[in-house]
Symmetry: C4
Subunit: 264 residues, 4 copies
């Protein structure tokens, strides 16, 4: 049960798809969030899934909502720009097979909207503080790399990490099987326990805006990321608490001799 | 495989749905149980699911039954009252995705009976003994809050906990997506290891009876809760024992050198 | 994916269903095995499931087979006897929800063969060595108890254990929902680490043969159980080894600084 | 969701199916890999599954792909040879039930290509360094053993290990139920932490080439295995890292008093 609910069906011309969901350093999440805010992108669909955590968020003071991923769009404003679909959200799947199911549903949905090009955003944990974090790249195909060669992307993800976990990886891997071209942008970041890394997000956004031929004001990034961080940290903490609660309920011991009396 | 078996199909007019299943302090479970008992609500359907624990209960001396959730109804007796559906039961899902499946099945079932308004009941663990436990609220929407503003509910669940786990949360989150209005009532309680908290249930029942315009005698609550506690504790203990048994079977070690001899 | 393959479709008249699968003390497994052997029951179907362990057994020296449950039948030979279906097998489900799926498939299969009465056999672990182990009973309904009141069964399972895990429980709980009558016979046994308990099996078989109006020679029980024990222990050990192997593969640590380099 | 994508549909005459996927000592994986390389077998299909790990590999420097199993074929070149289908790949299932699903899909796919004979390759961990590792065999049936009796295979797998885990076992167990004949070849190897064992693979390949009436140059085996080892080790390490990452995310503790504040 993974459901995508369409709020408004946008008419898009050869749109490019950009994904930024929570992950290492939340690079993707904050880059996508900043893009949506600066471009005034419009929400047109949302996804929820039985593979997400089994709780609802209570945001603000009292309003609750399901954990969800959200689809936004922006129409091209200039000749050298393209229509853009941006996917962001509260969380990724809790279960391994859920990652495959959710990514497949997303791809089938955006394919119907004409998507042939995918860009996913993630973080690469280096274990060290990076003064000038670089953007590391991976692609679905040789020809895709050629297209993005002119940007400031180091195409050595294979040597440096060798794999991409979750949505940022599977959307490209499954998309490739559907004939789509894909690029993954990974911002170098120190890794846990950093919640959000604006510097790494900036490095990725620099490249992304050039790829998309758009102009956004980077001046507000740091303050905007601070704003987002509160909510992102909240979801992260709640997921940990929910897991703790599940664990406590499941593992609470039963004492005494009675423990030996059971049936099979 | 989640099955709802109808025993009798009630004819209801714009019924309001009230959920009280086991959880923190079993506030929902005992509030719903007391309501059913005082209103002489009639059982009309029951649900079992592969997502519940894989055992049967032996209640009384020798009669066994599947773990189940049960649907009850009460017809309005006065002009300012509404027909009510009450859901209670032995347990919630064992698996995370099961919570989504069971909640979806429940909502689709009661939607066909005309339900547009949902009230779910849970506990909010404060870690402290509460002399006068309050009722904390969360809603699906601003307009729902306005409707319930006049009652003695503190609408600050977002600040105090930020999430609602399991049926009490997902019924509202998923119901909202189906166009239903929902209110969650959380009774303040100290939390584990308390089995049932009658005081917190009373606080919630005070509000609930006012919302439903019904009059019930609260005098028997404490003794009734004591009665229910025995059964609730039994199910809780059995779930823990079942988990221990599963764990023991899975983890029993194999000794000696033979351990090295396997195939792959 | 739970598959029941029919080898031969028997014509049965109002057959009674008897289940004995591996469990505590393997009471059910050895009682069913001895019954099959003494009555020369004929195998007519077998079941395998994705919910069983993901390995094949190599029995004898070199022949392999899937883990399976097996259906046998015996036709009534005298007027006061009934046709009998006996279910036994290598194992039960590995996953909690698998128990529900496998039990449902079994019930739907035997319902088509005319089954309305179910008897399941299990063990009740007392934690003590039992000199004269008793048979403890549980039923789906009051009227079923009356039917079996005359036998040497103590109907106090509810007080002594309160739940029945796995196939012996769910076949009756789910069967009850399908309108079937069910009796569970539990042989008192000390519990782990005993592999098979012939004494407890004898107590249960004494009752079972009286219920079924059949006469079997109990003299070979102990030696037959010894024979069966070898195979039963092998499956148990292999399941533990398989779990150990899965655990080892999953938990093998990765050392050094490289551990910090991953992507999300 | 297990998907097999056909790249080219080969016309094969009574093909024999050979499986070699990662496992103990990677005997099957390297034997199949060497066979593919020496016979210049042609890839004609590939499989991916939600039961594999939820990440993509980045091979070479920057190109990514889904974890996958691959189907190759070779046409018979001489009269006494047969067409061969070879299955190899990056990994096996992460979940127990996934093993059943993936094996079933593979069998249904190759059945349509005319496969009636199966050979699977695995390792048997002995815990000791083997100077001259032997090939141990298991079969689906007595008559299959007779067919392979003349080769240098010791048919005592039942005594020595008793079970075959994963694809090498389930392909034969499930294949047997579909009426296929199957042989499992297990190369003796010391077991963990050896990544690849060329000696054990050579023992198995000696038998396999005789069975298939093919001639391949064994001289390059050791160097070829070294080549393959790098990639195999990479996938193994990534799976471990992915599991570590999942574990770390799930288990990261939440500190302080706030931990007590949750809802149910």
């Amino acid at each position: 049960m993974t459901v995508i609910k369409t709020i408004e069906k946008p008419k898009l011309k050869n749109p490019i798809f950009v994904e930024g969901l929570p992950g290492i350093g939340n690079i993707g999440r904050v880059a996508a969030g900043y893009l949506i805010s600066e471009l005034k992108a419009k929400k047109f669909a949302q996804l929820h899934s039985e593979h997400f955590f089994p709780f609802v968020m209570v945001h603000d003071e009292y309003r609750l909502h399901l954990l969800k991923n959200e689809f936004y769009y922006v129409k091209a404003k200039k000749k050298n720009q393209r229509d853009i679909i941006i996917l962001t959200g509260d969380c990724q799947s809790l279960s391994p097979n859920g990652h495959y199911e959710v990514a497949t549903q997303i791809l089938e949905y955006v394919e119907k909207l004409g998507v042939k090009d995918l860009i996913t955003i993630g973080g690469l944990a280096t274990g060290e503080l990076e003064d000038k974090p670089k953007t590391i790249g991976a692609v679905t195909d040789e020809k895709v790399k050629k297209k993005y060669n002119k940007f400031d992307i180091e195409f050595d993800a294979g040597e440096r990490v060798g794999y991409i976990v979750g949505a940022s990886g599977l959307l490209l891997g499954l998309g490739k099987e559907m004939g789509m071209d894909g690029l993954c942008l990974l911002g170098e970041t120190s890794g846990f326990p950093i919640v959000t890394d604006p510097k790494a997000a900036e490095s990725v956004l620099d490249n992304l805006t050039k790829i998309l031929n758009i102009d956004i004001d980077m001046g507000k990034l740091e303050s905007k990321v601070k704003e987002m961080e509160k909510f992102i940290k909240k979801v992260e903490d709640l997921q940990k608490k929910a897991l703790n609660q599940i664990a406590r309920e499941e593992k609470a011991p039963v004492k005494g001799k009675e423990q030996l009396r059971y049936i099979g």
